[in-house]
């Protein structure tokens, strides 16, 4: 029984983290066709930002979270403006620009904080016991915050005028432009929302993980797998895909021998199997290719 609870908790947490990351990644891909490899690097930046505010400056973690979200969103917007916007029509160039950006962030963090493993105090202390399994309040908090943000995002995208603009730009850039939507501005705002989501994810998950400058690589792979599994550009798909892969990972870790090594392999194999049956992902909408 304890095993089941463990699997559920760990699956829900990693599923929510992947969902938040994948939705942000999907958004900017849908609107601006940018495959943002640096997406999880922003997540790493936010985590370090919290460490800096709490550990070096001695503030309460909640200030760290706010500072992280604001600062990292700003960094994201500035780097989008300087490095990505000028070369947006060259697909390959954007790709390696984002890779190089991620590497640059990683190296700056190595220089600033060295490569050692760090940790951050959790926002709320204590735990409760469910059927003999310790469940930390921080884990519950992370899960609830993730659900809350996803709900806010849903309202933003479906109920507001900005959300309509974002969705229509994702559907057809030219027509959206003709209808008087400032496409460049929408892309900029979407970049802000997307990086903000990554920063938020980093902020809520950092007390549960270990900080190190290479921490962006693992989530990057899983995030991409989620996005492909759910179907590019489909938010519902990203949401479902994230929980499927999150639970798959948790089950492999707790049930299979050598699970910790194989968790990535199994999750990615599931993605490939689904793609064999449905090449456009679970909820994929095939974008009409601009020929």
């Amino acid at each position: 029984m304890g095993l089941v609870i463990n699997i559920i908790i760990s699956g829900l947490i990693s599923g929510s983290v992947y969902a938040l990351l994948a939705i942000g990644f999907s958004l900017i891909f849908g609107v601006a066709r940018i495959v943002n490899i640096a997406h999880t690097a922003f997540y790493m930046l936010a985590a370090y930002c919290i460490y800096f505010v709490t550990h070096n400056m001695g503030f309460h973690p909640i200030w760290g979270m706010i500072a992280a979200i604001v600062l990292v969103t700003l960094v994201g917007l500035v780097s989008y403006r300087i490095f990505i916007n000028p070369i947006r029509e060259h697909e390959g160039a954007v790709l390696i620009a984002t890779i190089a950006l991620a590497m640059a962030f990683q190296e700056i963090m190595v220089l600033k904080f060295t490569g050692t493993f760090l940790s951050v105090p959790s926002l709320v202390k204590g735990y409760l016991v469910i059927l003999g399994v310790k469940v930390f309040y921080q884990q519950l908090l992370t899960f609830c915050m993730a659900l809350l943000v996803m709900a806010v995002l849903w309202v933003l995208l479906m109920k507001t005028k900005l959300g309509l603009a974002i969705r229509s730009t994702a559907q057809d850039k030219e027509v959206a432009n003709l209808m008087g939507i400032n496409e460049a501005q929408v892309a900029m705002i979407t970049m802000g929302v997307s990086v903000g989501l990554a920063a938020f994810t980093g902020a809520v998950v950092v007390p549960l993980t270990i900080l190190e400058p290479h921490m962006w690589m693992g989530p990057l792979i899983m995030m991409m797998a989620v996005v492909v599994l759910g179907g590019l550009g489909s938010l519902k798909g990203s949401f479902m895909g994230a929980y499927i892969l999150g639970f798959a990972e948790a089950m492999v870790v707790f049930l299979a021998p050598m699970g910790a090594f194989l968790k990535g392999s199994v999750a990615l194999s599931i993605m490939i199997l689904v793609l064999l049956i449905r090449p456009e992902g679970l909820f994929g909408v095939y974008f009409e290719e601009e020929r």
């Binding site: 390696i96 640059a104 220089l111 590019l232 050598m258 090594f261 990535g264």
Partner: protein
């Protein structure tokens, strides 16, 4: 004697009329000559080691270009081919005792098989889907490597495999000659009929299908060819470093290949090769700045892309040469008229 003189004169004419008229061809010839003659001038083992590794990675970058540049099948998991080549060669050498000249081609055949295995599911995908899916394969293999530590050495890798050759200079010559040979072969492939079909698949796959060409078969061929060349470089790497470790399968390995290729300019073959020969030694010579090395690398890539999004070498070539508007033949930029049809160049 006359025959030799004839060939000599022919060589001289070709040099004068075909090679010396275009700066890019002069550079290519100089590149071949310098690489082949380098050990005559320096026996510095450190320098030779850097250039051996550079040559090995040049094959890898060029093979990425053959697949992703020419056919447009963005492959983010190129480390898979490299890793399969390296591990294949290492396992065959360690457990079957086959010498390097046998293990490297066999490892490359293993990489071809890997190309087939990932090619078949991936061919149903397109564009970004393909790119993100291919990223998964080296990680799956890495998980398997870690799960079988008895066979693969787990995190430490397989060490103690045979040397490529006796001395550093021989190692250098093997790597450089293989690199020059394979690059020429790749360049010839892209120039052939098959290469034209690869080009066409990138530009408009539907039109190629409408012309009655089985594009799936050609894409699979591209995967296999690219896998073969990347596998050769993986095998060379394993025998040169005498270790095949999980670092050959890492995500950063796949990304570095993409950076090299796009930095030099895709769809060229010479672009990725040149880019590796610029970036890899540059990174080595910056070693006295150990901690700033990767940061400098990332910044150089970012800045160069801002001004030359088509790649450094393509940008340079367009600066020093221009195409004749009438007969589409390249001319040096200082000429006013085309060297073949005398049409004025603008």
């Amino acid at each position: 004697m006359d025959l030799i003189l004839f060939y000599f004169r022919k060589l001289f004419t070709v040099l004068k009329n075909e090679v010396l008229v275009l700066p890019s061809r002069i550079v290519a010839v100089l590149f071949f000559l310098i690489l082949l003659l380098l050990p005559l001038f320096t026996k510095d083992t450190y320098l030779l080691r850097i250039f051996t590794l550079t040559s090995i990675f040049a094959i890898l970058a060029a093979s990425w270009d053959l697949l992703s540049g020419f056919t447009g099948q963005m492959n983010f998991g190129h480390a898979l081919f490299f890793g399969v080549g390296a591990y294949g060669a290492a396992l065959l050498n360690k457990y079957a005792g086959i010498p390097p000249w046998g293990t490297i081609p066999l490892g490359a055949l293993g990489a071809v098989l890997a190309g087939l295995i990932i090619g078949i599911p991936c061919l149903r995908l397109r564009g970004t889907y393909l790119a993100l899916t291919t990223l998964a394969f080296p990680i799956i293999l890495m998980g398997i490597v870690f799960a079988l530590p008895d066979l693969t050495g787990g995190e430490l890798g397989i060490s103690g495999i045979a040397r490529l050759a006796g001395s550093r200079v021989t190692d250098y010559y093997i790597a450089v000659v293989v690199m020059l040979g394979l690059s020429t072969i790749m360049w010839k492939i892209t120039d052939s009929n098959t290469g034209i079909i690869f080009h066409a698949i990138r530009e408009d796959e539907l039109a190629v299908r409408a012309a009655g060409i089985n594009t799936t078969r050609y894409k699979l061929l591209a995967f296999c060819l690219s896998g073969f060349f990347a596998g050769v470089s993986g095998g060379l790497y394993a025998h040169f470093m005498r270790i095949a470790g999980p670092s050959t399968l890492e995500v950063s390995m796949s990304f570095t290949v993409v950076i090299w290729a796009i930095f030099g300019g895709i769809v060229t073959i010479y672009g990725p090769v040149g880019a590796v020969f610029i970036l890899f030694p540059l990174l080595e010579f910056l070693r006295f700045w150990q901690e700033y090395r990767t940061l400098m690398f990332a910044c150089v890539v970012l800045l160069i892309l801002l001004y030359m999004p088509d790649g450094l070498l393509r940008w340079l070539r367009d600066k020093i040469e221009k195409e004749c508007p009438r007969c589409k033949i390249r001319n040096i930029a200082t000429r006013d008229t085309c060297r073949i049809c005398t049409a004025p160049l603008d």
